[in-house]
């Protein structure tokens, strides 16, 4: 198979699935819809495997046609790059994507928007593929915006609910803020380097190494703002928790596994530039740490199962950002991959819980579900300990690698991340214990109807659980004596030194983290295992209030940006147009009118006045022409 065919096979099936389901889905039976929907990413997955086998690590660019041409050499091709980085991403996107598609068959089976949902999901996969395959910034940007669009559509999937709609447009608009920065960054890139494709950029920037060049700093910062929007970093992260309004598979696919990691992917893609700008790296690091900490602390006090997971996602994205800041791009990708496994698993598991409880999401209304949902309980356990970072699950290795990398890079970051991972363990165990242990705290009739998910849902869960369990094998640290497979695979695409630390440090880290996590496990199960999360006290402490209210960030944004803009809009609408501009413009008209009015008084109908005026005019003319 030639690369072009492979590319076509990867790229177009999801789009075809979207078109078929979107146009004809309403008139097709559900089984056909779901088959088409699931097979299209599966086909892409298969083609990705083919690409993995066929291309064997060679970076291949496939140009379809020239999209448009800018000035000079800036030619924007509609072209795609298949290298090892994109293959990793392809696997994640199509692999996890397929699983989630399958899961959705069961999850969405009762929904009237069944075909619509799958159409959107397929479209999302298409845009995500565009994003990861794009060989230049503009195609990447197309995918970037496209996934945002699908995110909008899927968050607001149940569009009867105005709250959901609000969340959807909030997500889109916030993403748009980042996208604007992204766009400007593209322009600046073209302006400074004249190139737009990654290959050219790579050549330009590696040939002419300029550390902390102001242009590069600006560009990299702007890209990072874009990343903040998409990957939910401070300050643009507030949309992600709200995005949980969408159906749970969406949260799993878009807002955990794939789309939100696009930012991480972008920076990894552009790693050659970020290597040149330590200033930006510092900014990314600080932002990442803050994000990891803030989100983790907020998650401590949340009671909505999906919100907890959402904040956890934000927090984990912070981890990845810090890894990027430390120059450990492959580590970030590693965490991205493992995170996509266990976070998808957690979300889908949560979905299973919600499904079983008929839409209940509040963990205070749960408890003791392990008796009725054994499968779910099992996979959730895997997911929870994977994210908490117990060895030898995937999360442990990737997080450990991040900590190792950061430790050698910046001690402050290290402490922050260590704290954040402790928090992670805490809130995850709190959630897990509240949901599955103790006694059921909801209504009795709900308890009656609690049931395990169908096999179409359970299957993907199991697969993901296996992946979460074994995902760590991709990147075993040096002390295990195994080779870091992901590193070896990605090194052609991402030039980066191997992460290594002294064995002593590694062992210490392992030991301490194991001890901390186990301690937390015990505390959490004791504390929440029986009674669930505590009822908020009547006089919550300042910190408690802060955490419950998510640091009031939404409110601050509302006050600081949205509200003033709204006022400005209203003011302009009511005063600006009619009050100011019209008045100014009409002023000369008024003058003419009043002048005309005055003049009309001259025209008083009296013949004697008329004659007099004429004579006066004659006199004036005579005088003028005698003088001049």
């Amino acid at each position: 198979m030639n690369p072009e065919l492979i590319l076509h096979l990867i790229l177009w099936p999801p789009l075809a699935g979207f078109l078929i389901n979107g146009v004809f889905g309403a008139r097709m039976p559900k089984w056909l819809v779901s088959t088409i929907a699931c097979f299209s990413p599966l086909l892409s997955f298969a083609a990705s495997v083919a690409a993995y086998i066929q291309l064997a690590g060679q970076a291949t660019t496939v140009k379809l046609y020239t999209w448009f041409v800018g000035e000079g050499s800036a030619i924007v091709d509609f072209s795609f790059l298949i290298d090892n980085l994109s293959i990793v991403m392809l696997f994640v996107v199509t692999g996890v994507g397929t699983l989630i598609h399958v899961y959705s068959i069961g999850y969405m089976s009762g929904d009237r928007g069944f075909h619509r949902f799958f159409a959107y999901l397929n479209l999302f996969v298409f845009f995500m593929l565009l994003l990861v395959l794009g060989s230049n910034l503009v195609v990447l940007f197309a995918g970037w915006e496209g996934v945002g669009l699908c995110s909008f559509l899927l968050i607001g999937f149940w569009y009867d609910n105005l709250e959901y709609n609000r969340a959807a447009s909030k997500a889109f608009v916030m993403n748009r803020i980042g996208d604007l920065a992204f766009l400007v960054a593209i322009f600046l890139t073209i302006y400074t380097t004249g190139a737009v494709s990654f290959a050219d950029l790579h050549d330009t920037m590696t040939n002419d190494v300029r550390i902390n060049d102001p242009a590069y700093v600006a560009i990299s910062l702007l890209f990072f703002i874009g990343v903040c929007g998409k990957s939910a970093q401070i300050p643009l992260f507030t949309w992600l928790p709200d995005a949980m309004a969408g159906p749970t598979p969406v949260s799993a696919l878009i807002h955990a596994a794939t789309m939100v990691t696009a930012g991480i992917y972008l920076i990894a893609r552009m790693h050659f530039m970020y290597d040149l700008v330590p200033v930006t790296q510092l900014v990314i690091g600080i932002t990442g740490c803050l994000t990891a900490l803030v989100a983790a602390t907020i998650a401590l006090k949340q009671n909505d199962i999906k919100k907890i997971l959402a904040y956890s996602t934000v927090s984990q994205l912070g981890f990845m950002a810090v890894a990027l800041a430390a120059g450990a791009y492959i580590t970030a990708i590693f965490h991205l991959v493992t995170h996509s496994f266990f976070k998808a698993l957690l979300f889908l598991g949560a979905g299973s819980v919600i499904h079983g409880l008929h839409g209940e999401q509040d963990i205070r209304q749960m408890g003791g579900l392990r008796h009725k949902m054994r499968w779910t309980y099992g996979v959730m356990l895997v997911g929870t300990i994977a994210i908490a970072g117990l060895p030898p699950l995937s999360g442990f290795f990737s997080k450990d690698e991040i900590l190792t990398a950061v430790h050698s890079h910046n001690m402050g970051f290290f402490i922050a991340l260590a704290l954040a991972s402790a928090f992670t363990a805490w809130y995850m165990f709190r959630m897990f214990a509240s949901v599955f242990h103790g006694a059921f705290r909801g209504k009795n009739e709900t308890w009656e109807h609690v049931h395990e998910a169908p096999w179409s849902m359970r299957g993907p869960l199991v697969v993901l659980a296996v992946l979460s369990l074994a995902g760590g094998l991709l990147g075993l640290p040096a002390i295990t004596g195994q080779s870091h497979r992901l590193y070896n695979f990605l090194v052609p695409a991402i030039v980066q030194p191997k992460i290594s630390a002294s064995h002593a440090f590694e062992y210490a880290l392992w030991g301490i983290s194991l001890a901390v996590i186990l301690t937390l496990l015990v505390i959490c199960f004791k504390r929440y295992g029986s009674s669930g999360p505590s009822v908020p006290s009547v006089t919550p402490s300042f910190f408690e209030r802060l955490l419950v209210n998510k640091y009031f960030i939404d409110e601050i944004y509302e006050r600081l940006f949205v509200h003033p803009l709204k006022i400005a809009g209203s003011w302009l609408m009511h005063r600006g147009d009619y009050g100011i501009i019209d008045r100014v413009v009409h002023f000369p008209g008024k003058v003419v009118e009043s002048g005309a009015f005055a003049l009309r008084n001259l025209q008083d109908g009296k013949l004697s006045s008329y004659l007099l005026y004429s004579v006066v005019a004659l006199l004036i003319f005579l005088t003028l022409f005698l003088i001049f």
Partner: protein, 109 residues
């Protein structure tokens, strides 16, 4: 025949010009200040006569008959105007019962 009238030898033409101008201006003044439409009209006649005088003088001083013929026509015109004008005045008097020039102000603005 062709003897030069004494006046032409003694008085410069500019005096006639001045005289007729003065006459013209008196007529003009009358037109402007009088309210009775008939008097106004009469003042216009004074203006016309002033011009006539001017032209006759100029014609005489040059021995050119064009001016005199012109005056003849002017008189004819004046006569025609007067007749039409008085007809109009009579007509309007029938309707409005006034000859005050300032009272004809139905149309203005």
């Amino acid at each position: 025949m062709n003897h030069i009238p004494e006046i032409i030898r003694t008085i410069p033409l500019s005096h006639y010009v001045a005289l007729s101008s003065a006459l013209f201006l008196i007529g003009l003044l009358g037109v402007l200040i009088r309210k009775n439409i008939i008097i106004v009209f009469m003042c216009i006649e004074i203006m016309l006569n002033a011009v006539n005088l001017l032209m006759v003088a100029a014609a005489s001083y040059r021995g050119d008959s064009a001016g005199q013929v012109m005056v003849l026509f002017t008189m004819a015109v004046a006569a025609a105007e007067v007749s039409v004008g008085l007809a109009i005045i009579v007509m309007i008097y029938k309707n409005l019962k006034t000859t005050n020039i300032d009272l004809f102000d139905q149309m203005k603005g």
